[in-house]
């Protein structure tokens, strides 16, 4: 790989480089990245402490599985570790790149899952089957997770990045490699779809 690649060029093969004006401002991780590249083992633990919670949450919400979220988080950081020596400032922020890798790994797992399990066989919560087993809060939470899982992938990712992770539109658009307008459209459609689900639940309650 070219020694002068930036993060935006070091993505997984499925991702293509794109200009990211809003995300390429001074990277708050730049100093730590330089230390990791120089062989400072402690510096990598700083990066893990800074980003692990977010990467894990993102993977968990994307996949809905503790074990798979942990696998994705570990693989994401391991990829980062092996790429850091080739890192050069000037491209996307490290956190943006990290979230892209995590989402790509989630895509791969979701794709494999779709291939393995027929949609009809998905084990969604059946409220009528065991209405007394779940507490009300847990039940609502499960419904939210189900509703999120049923959103189209890009809409779900836009919502995860902006609503749950609090990324700005510009950063989220950069992670998803779309324009800010397209991101806003994804967000609006995602919320509309969820609202519809919520209203359906109310009317059926």
């Amino acid at each position: 790989m070219n020694a002068s690649l930036s993060w935006s060029q070091m993505q997984a093969p499925a991702m293509s480089a794109s200009p990211e004006p809003a995300a390429s401002a001074a990277d708050p991780d730049a100093d730590v990245l330089a230390r990791v590249a120089a062989g400072d083992a402690h510096a990598f633990s700083i990066l893990v402490d800074r980003h692990l919670a977010r990467v894990h949450r993102l993977a968990w919400r994307s996949l809905g599985s503790d074990a798979e979220a942990e696998d994705v988080a570990q693989e994401t950081f391991l990829r980062a570790f092996t790429q850091i020596p080739r890192w050069r400032a000037g491209g996307a922020r490290f956190s943006t790149w990290l979230h892209r890798v995590a989402l790509n790994l989630c895509h791969d797992r979701l794709r494999r899952r779709r291939e393995e399990i027929a949609v009809d066989a998905l084990d969604l919560v059946d409220d009528s089957a065991a209405p007394d087993r779940l507490l009300e809060h847990g039940q609502r939470r499960q419904r939210v997770e189900d509703a999120l899982a049923q959103l189209p992938q890009r809409q779900r990712e836009a919502l995860l990045l902006c609503h749950f992770e609090g990324h700005s539109n510009a950063v989220a658009a950069s992670v998803l490699e779309v324009s800010v307008d397209a991101l806003e459209s994804l967000l609006a459609r995602a919320r509309r779809g969820l609202r519809q689900r919520l209203e359906e639940e109310r009317s059926s309650a």
Binding site: A41, L52, H56, F77, L78, R140, V144, R191, R192
Partner: protein
Amino acid sequence: MNPQSREQANHLLEVHGADPARWPVPSRALLEQADPGLRTQQQSLDAWLATSVPPPAPARLRAAILLAAHEAAASRRSGVLEALLALWQDLGGARLAVPAFALALALGVGLGAGMLPALSAPSDAANDDLLSLAMIDDGYAVLFTEEVSP
């Protein structure tokens, strides 16, 4: 009320929800102009979404990541040796080395055996020199007779 502002506020409501903290700072003042019904709907949706709380990343995950990175660093250090070994294997390893050594040995022996007579036999030039000396000195004539015409 400006209809354009209301339309923009409703759009922002649909994109970001009813919590002004999620709105872009310059647009937050528009929230008051949004449709109250839509605002209530979005508040309900925000409350619904707030019930989704993922578990925290377990401490063992952090340890596993750091261990994996440590192992990757160790394997990177031995990468040069591994690359040479891989090259050796790619070239056939011991299976190629034995015939290559045998071929080199055979070539060496063959070339050596072929060149030995040429090196040991007196050349024509040396015989000419001896003839010239024999014509001058009888001592050399005896030597020439022994060397060239035994």
